[in-house]
Amino acid sequence: MSAPTFEEATAPVPQRRSALRHLLADPLGRFGLTLVLVILLTAIFADAIAPYNPTAIAVPNRLQGPSLAHLFGTDQLGRDVFSRVVLGARIALEVALVAITLALAVGGALGLAAGYGPRWLDGILVLVFDTIRSFPTIMFALALVTLIGPSLETVIVVVVATFAPSYGRIVRTQTQALKHAEFILAERSLGAGAVRILAVHAVPNIVGPLFILASMDVPVVITIEAGLSFLGFGVRPPTPSWGTVLNDGYAFIGNTPWIILAGGLPLVLSTLGFTFLGEALRDAIDPRLRKEI
C-alpha cells in the first residue's frame, strides 16, 4: 500500500472500526445497552425468573405490600406482582418486535415503491400514508376493537398502522434522494433493473439509519401497548402486561401504591434504555459525528 495522499489522510475514518467499541466507550451507551440487555434477558427467561405463576390467584394474600416472598407485593387477586411484571416484559418485547418488524416491512416496501416508482404511484401512496397518520391512535384503536375485539393482535395492528406510514415516508424520502444519486444512474446505465437497484444498492444504504430509528421506537410501542391494555383494548386478563398491571394499580391506588410503581418502573427503564442505546448506536455508526478526524 502506498503512502496516503493529503485527501486520504484527512478523510473520515473508514467504517471498519468497530462500532461496538465506540458504543461501549460512551457512558450513556453502556447504560442503555445494560438496561436493554436486562430487559431482553428478563423477557427470554421470564418463566425461570418469575417465582410464581403470574395468573395464580390467592385471594387471602391480596394487596400485600412488598416483602421477601413477594418483591412487589400482591395485587387485588393475590397474584404476585413481580411475576406479572416479569412476564409482562416478554409480552412487551414480543409486541414491540413483531409490530415494528411488520411496520418496517409494510412501510418500507411501500416507501420504496413510492420513492422509486412513477409519480402517480407516489401520489397515491403519500395520500394513503397521510390519511392513516391523521387518525389519532386511540380512535383507530377504538374502531379496531369494535371490529375485531380487544387482543394482542389488535394492539399489533394498531401499532403497525401507526408506524408504517412514518417508516414509509422516511424510506420514500431516502429512496427519492438516492434515485438521482450518481451511482444509481451508473447502475441503470449498466442495465440493472429497478428490483436489483432497490435490493442491492438502495436498501443497504437506507437500512442502517432506519434500523436505529426503529430501535428508538421500541419504548414508544411498549408504551402504546401498555396504554391500550390499560384502557382495555389490548391484552385481556388474566394475561399480565405492564399495561394491565398499571390498570390494576390505578384502580387500587388507594390501597397500595406499589402496584402502580411496579407497572410504571419497567416502562421508564425500557424507555431510557432503548433511547440511550439508539442514540449511542447512531453516533457510533455515523462517521461524521466522530470526534476525531
Binding site: 503512502a3 495522499t5 493529503f6 478526524i293
Partner: protein, 322 residues
Amino acid sequence: MAALLEVDGLSVDFAGSQRPIHALRDIRFSMERGRIVGLVGESGSGKSTLSLAVLRLLAPSARIVSGTIRFDGVDILALSDEAMRALRGRRIAMVFQDPMSTLNPVLSVGAQMIDVQFRDADLSRKQKRARAVSLLARVGIPDPERRIDDFPHQFSGGMRQRISIAMALLGQPDLLIADEPTTALDVTLEAQILDLLRDLRRDFAGAILLVSHHLGVVAEFCDEVVVLYAGEMVEQAPVGELFANPRHPYTRALLDCDPGRLPADARSFPTIPGRLPDLGAPRTQCVFAARCPLAIERCRAEPPAMIDVAPGHRASCHLLGG
C-alpha cells in the same frame, strides 16, 4: 519599509487518523506592497492551508507548529481574536473558490455590502449603499441600482464571484487573497474574471495573493510566482523568469503538463508519474525525489536548501547546488 506580508519558517500540522499530517513545512517568503504574487500548487501542496493561515481561519484540527506571519510588521499569530477580526475584511480580504461561502443566502446583496462597511461610522447608510452600487458597476454587474436588492441565488455563478470580489474590495484592503477564484467557473467566465481583476489592478493599490492550481492563470496576472509541492516551497521567481527559466524539476514538469504548452507533434499527454509522498513522515529527503526524473542519490539522502539562482529567483534542488 518592511514588506507587507512576511512568512517565516511557517509549519502547519493537521491532526490525522494515526499521526499528524504536515500540511506546510518551513514556508518562507514575503510580499511587498502592491505586488501580485501567485501561489501555485496542486492538491496536497498546502496552498489553501497557507492562505487560510494568513487569515487565521484554519480548522480547529490544524496546529501552527512553528514560524511567524507578520503583516505590516505585526505578528498575526500573536494577535487576540478581536484584533484579528479587525484586520479581516478591512486590511486583509479574501475571495473564495465558491462564492456561496462568502455570500449569505438569506440576506440581499445590498444588505451584505452595507453590513461589510460597518466600521465606517462616518458614512451614512445612503452613502454606503452608493459605494456598494458603484463597486457593483465597477465589477460589471449590469443594472446595479436595481440588482443590489436581489439575493445571491438570483445571480449566476459568474456574477456571484464578481459580487464577492466587490465585497472584498469594499474594505479597501491592503492585501487581497484570492483562493482559486476562477476554478469553479467555465473557461469563458474565468477569462472574464481574469480580465476584471486585471482592470481592477489599475485602481486597486493593495497587494494580491492569487492561489491557483493553474499556471496559465498565474501567468496572466502575477508579478511573482511561488511554487508549492507537498507542503514545501520549491521555487520562487518573478513571473517572466519562472516561465522562461524554470529551475526546479517539479516546476519544469508542471509546465510540461500544461495542456496549452503541448507541442504540435505530441502523441500523448505528459504527466508526472507517481504520487505525493507521505505527508505524515519526517522530512529526510527532497520532497519531490520519488517522482523526479533527475533525482540522484543525494536527493534521497537529505533535503535540499533554498538557494538563489538568479536575482529574485530561488529554488530548492540539490542539482542547483542546494
